[in-house]
Subunit: 303 residues, 2 copies
């Protein structure tokens, strides 16, 4: 009988949802030593790894699984991550902030406060060019929304060219060509050794002054000092950051007060237990049938 | 030889664009008495009507043509209005503001200002229900964007059921049924005698407290006093208004300072001379060929 350990701050919610799915043979267990399956948050799972002596499969509730792919950790089980559930919320976040900036909502609020009937020019997404750094399941979703709004879409990826909504793909040495003349650059990269500071001084320099940078991937992909410099020198219109190299962001970090930098707090990918449970249930059926699981993480690659 | 009078504040831009289309037989003229065609802004055309003794066709640069359908004016010519060019900008405006509110962008900016790493719950468009008051060319475009974001779409129209993206249509006496339990109500109605105060106390009362009302149609459709009351009593989460009964909004109007009321200044439908000229050129070819024009306005109906 498969035995499941749930490691989440919303453990009770997940247990209720899984119970209502009435999965064949599945038992819940609290003793890590007995469990072959874990469904949970990567950091909590990392802490439990030494006690998970029967472990066969981990279903992560997050897309990012850094604590588990860490080379110092054991990798003797199948790790699957959460995919396909973050595209919609990420898309709402990214295009919400792009529209917020293009429609000059703050300026209009100030005009209202001053009781001034003003008609400043506002911009359109329509006709603009967006560059997606990373085109996996989330990037593909963003590409679809960009096309809905009438945009040109460039994608920079390591290898995969999965999305038919991307107009042009770029790889490897073509990073600067990819970034040149973008209206919007959106980072959707996982934290791996290859993505460290990929958004560096050179990339920021080839972006036009009116460009907006949004990062919803991982903070390590950005050279934070170079970004602060670009914003201070007005070499970039704005940056919207949901992720940072260190989280929570230290109190003395320059980002808090950098002009035209809009910060949120690793909240762009709201996930719902219902969606994640659906993912778990689907993979559980495969696990029970001995079929290959969906969304298996390559420990070496890191995602 | 057809003779064209352009009546617009951007007259020179339009002339240049039309010249570059190299239209057969067309001549530009400045004497209104000689012109059979006028391409322009409704208010300027209304002022010129007494002098347009040879008038056969008016192509409006706006969707709203109130100054021309006014019963006190002559209606002895074919009036076509601008359609199909405002859907994209309106959609960016409407969904931009809905995302701004759902993502609690102001709260996050305040957290950043206070250097506080906060993770407030933010909402999703996905799964919500939007109601479109008016489903013509703009409403249909909004319906498409709503479906892209995974929403349920209700449409209230006088008669037409043009958009396949609308999940359910409502008519006439079903207005309150249409409005009940909507998460978002969006007004896209023209100013006609039938649309006066259609968003009244009863409609506002059946909307849930968390609902957001957006008006990008015409201001006369809203009972402004009832709206102020609903917002003050927290019977409505927010209102986003681009149009008003009187524009510019008088300085002593309560809207300026009503809580949770976000105001813009009749700027939601940015139009580009290129788009409007394309519309004119297409209709000119029809005019020259004696074919029926596109987007003919019914003077009686008002749109």
């Amino acid at each position: 009988m498969p035995k499941l350990l749930i490691l989440s701050r919303e453990k009770n919610d997940y247990r209720r949802l899984i119970e209502s799915a009435k999965l064949a043979e599945l038992e819940f267990a609290d003793d890590p030593n007995l469990c072959d399956i874990v469904f949970g948050e990567p950091k909590l799972i990392q802490d439990a790894l030494p006690h998970l002596t029967s472990l066969k499969w981990v279903q992560s509730m997050y897309a990012g699984v850094e604590p588990l792919v860490d080379p110092a950790q054991r990798h003797d089980y199948v790790l699957t991550n959460a995919r396909g559930v973050f595209g919609a919320p990420m898309s709402e976040y990214v295009f919400g902030y792009l529209l917020f900036l293009e429609k000059k909502m703050l300026e209009r609020m100030k005009a209202q406060e001053a009781k001034q009937w003003q008609r400043p020019q506002s911009g359109m997404l329509h006709g603009k060019t967006i560059g997606l750094l990373g085109v996996g399941s989330i990037g593909s979703h963003l590409a679809g929304t960009a096309k809905h709004f009438g945009m040109t879409v460039r994608g920079f990826t390591k290898g995969s060219e999965e999305s038919p909504q991307v107009d042009q793909y770029y790889h490897g040495n073509d990073l600067l060509k990819f970034a040149t003349d973008l209206d919007y650059l959106v980072g959707v990269l996982p934290r791996t050794k290859d993505t460290h500071h990929i958004v560096n001084k050179s990339v920021l320099e080839v972006l036009p002054d009116h460009a907006i940078f949004v990062n919803v991937g991982r903070g390590n992909s950005v050279d934070e000092a170079a970004l602060v410099h670009a914003l201070k020198e007005n070499k970039l219109a704005a940056a919207v950051l949901d992720v940072f190299d260190k989280e929570p962001l230290p109190e003395n970090h320059p980002f808090w007060t950098t002009p035209n930098l809009y910060m949120t707090f690793h909240t762009s990918a709201i996930s719902y237990p219902e969606d994640l449970t659906r993912l778990f249930v689907e993979n559980y059926h495969r696990y029970l049938a001995g079929k290959p699981l969906k969304h298996i993480v390559d420990f070496e690659r890191g995602y």
